[in-house]
């Protein structure tokens, strides 16, 4: 049975139905891409899955466990973790403190009000491991807010995977990254898939087609198409509403 099972999920913002009876499944170990025009409801869907927005209807199961009525932190405990479209870290804290917070959420009881956190060698080791994995060691004591954009994105991902989730939700991880950084991010995601399934939102098609096993296309909040990377890539309807014909464009421009 599938890892994540979404059925008829609905979210309305006043007149708009941002998520319109969306149903989709994510299998264990797969990278499932979620693409679609701007405003199709991709981020909204991620908010719904992670619980930061309350759904107006539908069901949401992880490993058979119903999550729809759980608070965000309970969903994390259940094995869901996410990144944000707009980088969301702790800009005033150092990288180390950022990572420690992320690790602490799962490795320790945050209601312990007497024991000094920073003395916890285990936590520190875990945080350090994360920093190493993301090649952020050199920035260990840097204040996160002053990191370059790319590094901040990496930190954002690190905060999410600290939970060692069953399913990772990535909302446009390549956003604001140059080609080089994008490549690296692709590589990172390839690494991560060994440990967790991933639901990936991305407008960088090269990345999507490199990574995704299956793709769901959202349009106006509805599931518009679903299938393997190849199927979607060559689906004329999808090309019309979303992919377009970049190669053609370049020809034309070359001419111009």
């Amino acid at each position: 049975m599938s890892l994540l099972l979404i059925q008829n999920l609905v979210k309305r913002f006043g007149a708009i139905t941002a998520t319109d009876h969306v149903s989709l499944e994510v299998e264990k170990g797969e990278i499932h891409a979620l693409i679609g025009p701007n405003g199709a409801g991709k981020s909204t869907l991620v908010h719904l899955i992670s619980g930061l927005l309350p759904a107006d209807g539908g069901s949401l199961q992880l490993d058979g466990q119903e999550l729809i009525h759980l608070a965000p932190h309970q969903r994390v405990a259940a094995g869901l973790s996410r990144c944000f479209q707009i980088t969301s870290i702790f800009p005033k804290l150092t990288v180390a403190e950022n990572l420690l917070l992320a690790v602490q959420a799962h490795q320790a009881n945050s209601f312990r009000w007497f024991k000094v956190r920073d003395k916890d060698a285990e936590l520190k080791a875990k945080a350090w491991e994360l920093a190493h994995r993301m090649q952020l060691e050199s920035e260990w004591n840097t204040v996160a807010g002053t990191l370059p954009h790319g590094a901040q994105r990496k930190l954002d991902v690190a905060l999410a995977i600290a939970a060692t989730p069953k399913l990772l939700l990535l909302d446009e991880p390549m956003a604001g990254m140059g080609p080089a950084e994008s490549e690296e991010m692709v590589e990172l995601i390839q690494q991560l898939r060994k440990d967790m399934a991933i639901l990936l939102i991305e407008h960088d098609m090269d990345a999507v087609f490199q990574l995704a096993d299956r793709i769901t296309v959202l349009v106006y909040g509805k599931v518009f198409a679903q299938g393997t990377a190849e199927q979607i890539q060559h689906d004329p309807r999808v090309q019309a509403v979303y992919l377009g014909q970049e190669d053609e464009l370049e020809k034309e421009e070359g001419a111009a």
Partner: protein
């Protein structure tokens, strides 16, 4: 470029040390020790120096500092700007009244009850309050404090607006009143203990989590923190400490009146904390000391004592934006991350 983004190999052992302010902490603790010693002997020598009035003055300063400490914890660590803290001070004070009316006189028991009462009531209020953000939180805490105030005003049994006078001091134990130098010493020790406790909590798992909530609550939720419950605990804790200070105040004055809970008392607490320095270990006591001493002095020199105080506030805002304590706490990395940040508008 051959630089790889991800290392798969296991990391080099023992991570580098974290940025820490151990030194600043050591300094502040020694300062504390010295102060406690100096203040500890003060009441015993004061009469000889003809300063016995100032014993009560200093004791009041200590008690207010206690409330301010808890407020500074709330604002500086959890980012919860509570404009109703005097309400909880009042709860503590009236808890004493209630106990005395009920025929109790054992100070320890009464103080305990007061602190617990403060915790419970602030927990209940917190259930509603901590779900709101920013100015809404400020105003809802104010609202509840005002409710408590008007409740006290119309409580006939406890004197209402006239206040309630206790004619015999509480007892520490048989034959020893909770008054005079004994009370002074107790208050001093209690304050020192709470000071240490709070700076300890700030470094605990709980304290760090609060810090995270202060800086980016949504992220904390998404990382799996029960943010509401964490904030609630902080709120209740602060409420309890405030109530305790209120109980001690009542014990000292043997008099309680609603004016204790007026909204401008809450505002004054915030003012003192900000003067001293939000999120700074010594912010609260310093702010309280500066404010009360100035008030005492100015009041005796001129009828128009408000104006200079006002000038002081403006001066602090521009000359010491991080509070007076920041001057001493340069190295204290806590200073770097203080202050209740206004949310930037952009989406």
């Amino acid at each position: 470029m051959d630089r790889k983004l991800v290392n798969v190999d296991s990391p080099p052992a023992n991570p580098p040390a974290l940025a820490s302010n151990a030194h600043a902490r050591w300094v502040s603790h020694s300062v504390l020790a010295v102060l406690v010693l100096l203040l500890g002997v003060f009441p015993w020598v004061a009469p000889a120096l003809g300063l016995d009035y100032y014993v009560d003055f200093v004791r009041r300063m200590l008690i207010v500092s206690m409330a301010a400490l808890s407020l500074n914890f709330l604002i500086g660590r959890a980012g919860l700007v509570a404009l109703g803290h005097a309400g909880f001070v009042g709860v503590g004070a009236y808890a004493v009244v209630a106990m005395v009316e009920g025929g109790f006189s054992n100070a320890w028991l009464i103080w305990l009850v007061a602190a617990v009462a403060g915790m419970l009531i602030s927990a209940v209020i917190g259930l509603v309050a901590v779900r709101t953000q920013g100015v809404y939180f400020i105003m809802i805490t104010l609202a509840f404090a005002q409710m408590l105030y008007y409740l006290a005003v119309s409580l006939r049994a406890y004197g209402g607006d006239d206040g309630y006078t206790m004619y015999s001091p509480l007892l520490l134990w048989e034959g020893t009143d909770a008054a005079g130098n004994w009370l002074f010493t107790l208050v001093l020790l209690a304050l020192a203990a709470i000071f240490l406790l709070i700076s300890r909590i700030e470094r605990s798992y709980f304290g760090r989590a609060l810090e995270g909530i202060r800086d980016n609550e949504t992220r904390m939720q998404a990382m799996g923190y029960p943010t509401v419950r964490l904030k609630l605990l902080a709120f209740a804790l602060a409420g309890g400490i405030a109530a305790l200070s209120g109980a001690l105040l009542a014990t000292q004055n043997l008099f309680v009146s609603p004016s204790l809970m007026q909204w401008n008392q809450s505002a004054l607490l915030i003012v003192m904390v900000v003067i001293g320095g939000i999120g700074l270990r010594w912010g609260a006591p310093l702010g309280v000391a500066v404010w009360l001493v100035l008030e005492e002095v100015l009041k005796q020199t001129t009828d128009y004592w408000h104006a200079p105080m006002g000038l002081l506030l403006i001066a602090v805002v521009f000359l010491a934006p991080k509070g007076l304590a920041a001057f001493f706490a340069k190295k204290d990395s806590a200073a770097k991350k203080n202050s209740y940040q206004r949310k930037e508008g952009n989406a």
